[in-house]
């Protein structure tokens, strides 16, 4: 009896994914998706039309699944994590790597794969976005799974997902709390 997950790569726990698209290109593409009044209205319009919303969400899923291994949590952290999906971590950690990363940088759960946070940190720092890693990522809202994260983002639902707890000061937590800027 028993079931060895190593023989069943398709099922079971999330598996770290190395994105198929470079971090620099991802950062460069961000402005095309960034919130603006037009997108906000498009998002609201999509949410009123269930069929269109489903097609739109399907397109988002295919694109992000192919590029980043996206799992459709609906609250995209990619811009803050060097465009490396933290939901592909078997523990789905949103705030950095766990203490079980092996000496060679491998995942403790899937020793054949590179820890997704090792990849994320390299990509974020390589793209000049190392400070993003100091943001406190709030807990995931599990009601948003399989919803369009783009629509959620345009509707302002992701505001505060990756900033300091406290609406008065949107700067990263570290700088607010410790009064320092990360290196």
């Amino acid at each position: 009896m028993g079931f060895d997950e190593r023989n069943a790569p398709g099922g079971g726990w999330p598996r770290p994914v190395i994105p198929r698209i470079g971090a620099r290109l991802s950062y460069a593409l961000h402005p095309f998706l960034a919130t603006n009044p037009v997108y906000r209205r498009v998002g609201a319009w999509l949410e009123r039309r269930q069929r269109t919303y489903r097609w739109f969400t399907r397109a988002e899923r295919v694109a992000k699944e192919q590029l980043y291994g996206c799992r459709m949590c609906g609250q995209c952290a990619l811009p803050d994590t060097g465009y490396t999906c933290p939901m592909t971590c078997p523990k789905q950690l949103r705030n950095g790597p766990c203490g079980g990363v092996s000496a060679s940088g491998r995942c403790e759960v899937h020793p054949d794969l590179v820890c997704v946070w090792v990849t994320a940190i390299e990509r974020a720092q390589g793209g000049g976005h190392g400070a993003d890693l100091d943001l406190l990522q709030r807990p995931v809202d599990h009601r948003a799974w399989d919803r369009s994260s783009w629509v959620n983002y345009w509707q302002g639902r992701d505001d505060g997902l990756g900033v300091a707890p406290g609406p008065d000061d949107p700067r990263p937590l570290l700088r607010r709390e410790l009064g320092l800027s990360p290196r």
Partner: protein, 327 residues
């Protein structure tokens, strides 16, 4: 609530700038209160506090909450470990409130090992929150008196908040910043993974000082004796995140088989002594894993003074009053 012990205890050690000592009590696989009491009695008077582990290594055991209560009854200040592996945010917050209600003075919040390493690899890994989010949840629960939902809690719990960090796991350059993040979220003290490699450890400490973390958070270094070559092999290969450098390996393999245990203990003693000389190291966390009876010996040989009045008999009776009815 139990009274703040005069002189003993973790908070008192930090406040007095005294070198703190914590150890570990692993609750038993069984409904055996005596097992916790026995381990606590071996440690009583020698340590400022003892961690009570939470399904350690993802193996099902008596809960850390019950274990903490039993340790407290036996006169050892508990540090209740709480992991994100087995509980969602509702359960985590309710256990934090329970710890507050029972006067447990410290909680240690961590992400937790994945179930694949334990005795129930088929279990659903929860990880509804991560370790950083759990620390932040605890701090807002205590200091702002609110749950994640925003609902108010009254009265607020009063425990101190601890966490863990592994300075030896890649990416090494990020480890200090990861702790800084936990400190920003609310951690007041941290216990580290086993320190065997001083080069990496001291570099991490220097990073912490640069970031200003040591002013906000007490650093307790993890230590433990490796008492057999089998234990050495186990540490190297089967415990996620433990880094055993080659010089440790050479030293333990370089002595006759009947001397390995003593050599491992001696190495642990030397590690404690060396850690005590590093600025901003506030204490050691002794993970003796089944060698609890050896803890006093290690501390004595390392020259670590005993805590002044680690829970006197008077305090012990006092803390028992509140929970005596549970018997």
């Amino acid at each position: 609530m139990s009274a703040e012990p005069a002189g003993g205890g973790l908070r008192a050690a930090f406040a007095a700038g005294r070198f703190a000592v914590t150890a570990e009590i692993g609750p038993p696989r069984g409904a055996d209160a005596e097992a916790v009491t026995r381990k606590a009695e071996l440690l009583r008077g020698w340590v400022d506090a003892a961690n009570v582990t939470d399904n350690q290594g993802a193996n099902a055991r008596m809960s850390s909450l019950a274990g903490s209560l039993l340790a407290q009854r036996a006169g050892v200040e508990p540090v209740m470990q709480l992991t994100c592996r087995d509980r969602n945010r509702l359960a985590l917050q309710s256990d934090l409130l329970a710890a507050g209600a029972l006067g447990i003075p410290n909680v240690l919040l961590l992400t937790g090992d994945h179930p694949r390493f334990g005795d129930h690899p088929e279990a659903k890994p929860v990880f509804d929150l991560d370790g950083v989010q759990l620390v932040w949840t605890a701090r807002t629960l205590r200091d702002d008196g609110v749950l994640i939902s925003g609902r108010a809690v009254s009265p607020r719990p009063a425990w101190s908040i601890g966490t863990v960090e592994n300075p030896f796991a890649p990416p090494l350059g990020f480890r200090a910043r990861r702790l800084a993040k936990k400190v920003a979220a609310g951690a007041e003290f941290v216990q580290t993974q086993y320190v065997f490699d001083f080069d990496i450890f001291e570099r991490w400490m220097a990073d912490l000082r640069d970031l200003g973390v040591t002013e906000r958070c007490k650093i307790i270094a993890g230590v433990g004796p490796i008492r057999s070559l089998r234990a050495l092999e186990y540490m190297r290969t089967s415990v996620p995140g433990v880094h055993v450098p080659d010089h440790v390996d050479r030293r333990l393999r370089g002595v006759p088989a009947d001397r390995v245990a003593e050599e491992g203990i001696q190495m642990c003693v030397e590690t404690v002594q060396r850690l005590a000389t590093i600025p901003d190291v506030a204490g050691v966390h002794l993970m003796a894993l089944g060698y609890e009876h050896g803890v006093p010996d290690i501390l004595r040989r390392a020259g670590v003074p005993r805590p002044p009045t680690a829970l006197s008999d008077h305090n012990r009776h006092h803390s028992m009053e509140g929970i005596g009815h549970a018997r």
